[in-house]
Symmetry: C2
């Protein structure tokens, strides 16, 4: 009951936010940037508490993602200022038309309303998510991982203080720090009070939200990305793209997990690709024909059926030799997660066929899959990468956090 | 298991459909139009069977909605030809941008994939839904009400024959005529094989789908529409709009259910509105102040709390006198279904405030709510009226049945 009454306040705040000006919203973001720096001591203290509470068995990578320092706080402040500089997505007309009867139709971007974002480990996501969702005129409910509860609580205090200083309701943000998962489940049923849920995290979180939510979802699912090297690919270009897509930052969703290569080029190119990746100590999981070519090298294993479904997010790669473009597309349709897929070929007809048939948020020709990102795409940031087909595919930027309504002006028209 | 293997075939057909040409899809629609007329005898025979199976207690309006005759078949054929004439929504570029690194980004409309439409009673929805969904490149799963099962089965046979004649897979359409509701529930779990569910029908159907679906939904919910008459409204314009919105076709979702009127104009205008509607024998449900003004007339009742939530779809109206624009907006935010709302006022500032604050798919100034319709909006038809905020609000036209993907052309770009 207490939760519902809090939600009703958030809902009311979201209505007030519809009337806010661009300047007012930007001011909140700028004040929050200042407060992040001014209040660094209390934030870092809260963060130290979270780090202290981690079991000693916690992997170093996890501990690192949770850790804040003055540099990271600085980056968070800068990102707030960058979002403040972005054009306001609200009240933009995306369509305008006068009907023969004189009615003037305009399709106009408006806030979605109340956005519930669920994220894991990295506490800076709280700042990113709030800045983008709020800039688009939405009241935000944020729920981070339980390991970061003290840090996120400190960040929520900063954001609420900024709202207050800019004369907006503190209820515009509801930060959930209670680690009990039951609360998430309760929130997922409140379809009258929450407009969208945005889960961002591992498979289990996405599955949990999909199974339990009565609220529409913007899903940021896994990135099982492929690159297909066609027989006519330029070997150097192919090698550079593969090395980049696998090794530049393997822990992110737009990195490549599986290399598909045409049989006519496999025997000569695969060893070169292997050598180009060798400084990164990449583990290979190869289907029989690829294994035959690579078996003389260390760290080359035989792929199993589960390899093709595995998002390593690490220095590991699947590899398969295919007979044709069609076979490559078949493999991608079967195992891809509709995130980012790429073909390297010198032939435009081949590239267009690949782009037409492969159903993914981003389909590349002669480029690394690593570009699927809100900043890279020029959207000025993102709340995640959507792998669903409704509403938004790929980077979830400001416009994706609005909804387009019809405003119609008449002079007494009737039917 | 049999159902899953059928679904897999539909999914495969949807992949083939990605490669179809505009002409090929239009040809299917034209052949189907011809077959509807050529095969009228078998369709009407199936329809007679359905009508015969209706219990004798069936309301006349329901029986009428289910009934087909040669005129209605003709209208269905014409609507197929009209959809064939519409521009192809596929492969349209909605954004195009070159990044500083040379990457060319295009956002392109592509099919959603497999669309599952659930509808009730009127069998012509099967033809409308197929034509719009298929034109947008989607394989369609259709499920009508059990009362129309023989009629829809005959229509599915026609559509499949048209697909076959145009060299497309008959699996592009899966018509479910089995009246067992368990099948719907099973289908709603197949998130790997179905991309979108479009329920169109009463509250119970929408609720059932929302509760049970793991697949994203385009919801066509109820239309609890209001018209607010501000103190400065021109009385004749207000009266005309109110009569039109309530009586021109009360059984549809964009008709008005509740009239809100400013206290300064209520005493003079309400009796005029009542008289203008009196030829239609409208029942009134009035809040105390409105009741005081109207109690001398017949068919005027005191409104109860449940009145404000009741979508009559009939010659019945709620009426409430309000103190201010704000009070009108509050009432709409509390009871409206986010479908269509209208204000009648002579003041643009008042109108813009109403349009900004009222969160609905279509917000009118000085016009009847009855215009919220795919044909009226110039979208060339519709699959329904979406009352949700994600993906599409208002009439669900061809573009709303596509998804926008990013296609990116490079020359070897890496990060």
């Amino acid at each position: 009951m207490e939760l519902i009454s809090k939600l009703k306040k958030v809902n009311k705040a979201s209505r007030q936010l519809r009337l806010s000006t661009t300047e007012q919203r930007n001011q909140v973001l700028k004040i929050a940037a200042e407060l992040l720096i001014a209040e660094q001591k209390s934030i870092l203290k809260a963060n130290a508490q979270d780090l202290k509470n981690l079991p000693s068995s916690t992997p170093a990578a996890f501990r690192d993602r949770l850790t804040l320092d003055i540099t990271r706080l600085g980056h968070m402040a800068v990102s707030l200022l960058q979002v403040a500089e972005l054009p306001d997505p609200l009240n933009v007309e995306t369509e305008k038309r006068q009907l023969p009867n004189g009615l003037l139709l305009r399709k106009v971007r408006s806030p979605l309303g109340v956005v519930f974002m669920i994220f894991e480990s990295r506490p800076n996501v709280a700042i990113e998510a709030f800045s983008i969702g709020f800039k688009a005129g939405n009241a935000m409910i944020l729920r981070g991982g339980k390991e970061s509860q003290h840090t996120t609580a400190a960040l929520y205090r900063i954001l609420k203080a900024a709202l207050k200083q800019a004369d907006l309701s503190e209820d515009t943000l509801l930060g959930i720090t209670d680690p009990d998962r039951k609360i998430v489940n309760q929130l997922l049923k409140q379809k009258e009070l929450i407009d969208v849920v945005v889960p961002r995290g591992g498979d289990k979180l996405i599955e949990f939200v999909t199974e339990n939510s009565l609220i529409p979802i913007i899903k940021n699912d896994r990135g099982m990305c492929h690159i297909y090297i066609h027989e006519d690919a330029r070997p150097e270009m192919a090698t550079q793209i593969l090395v980049n897509a696998k090794t530049q930052r393997p822990g992110v969703c737009n990195s490549m997990e599986t290399l598909l290569i045409h049989e006519k080029i496999a025997a000569t190119l695969l060893p070169k690709v292997y050598e180009a990746m060798s400084p990164f100590h990449v583990r290979w999981y190869a289907a029989p024909r690829a294994f035959k070519i690579l078996k003389k090298f260390p760290m080359v294993n035989v792929a199993t059926e589960s390899s093709w479904k595995t998002e390593y997010l690490d220095f590991a790669i699947n590899c398969k030799v295919v007979n044709s473009l069609e076979q490559a597309i078949d493999h991608i349709q079967e195992f891809g997660s509709r995130h980012s897929e790429s073909i390297v070929t010198s032939n435009e007809v081949t590239a267009r066929k690949f782009q037409q048939e492969v159903d993914a948020a981003a389909v590349y020709w002669n480029a690394s899959t690593r570009f699927t990102d809100g900043f890279e795409f020029g959207l000025g940031g993102e709340l995640g990468i959507s792998t669903q087909k409704l509403h938004v595919r790929g980077p979830v930027g400001l416009a994706a956090l609005t909804s387009e309504r019809w405003l119609i002006d008449g002079t007494g028209q009737i039917r």
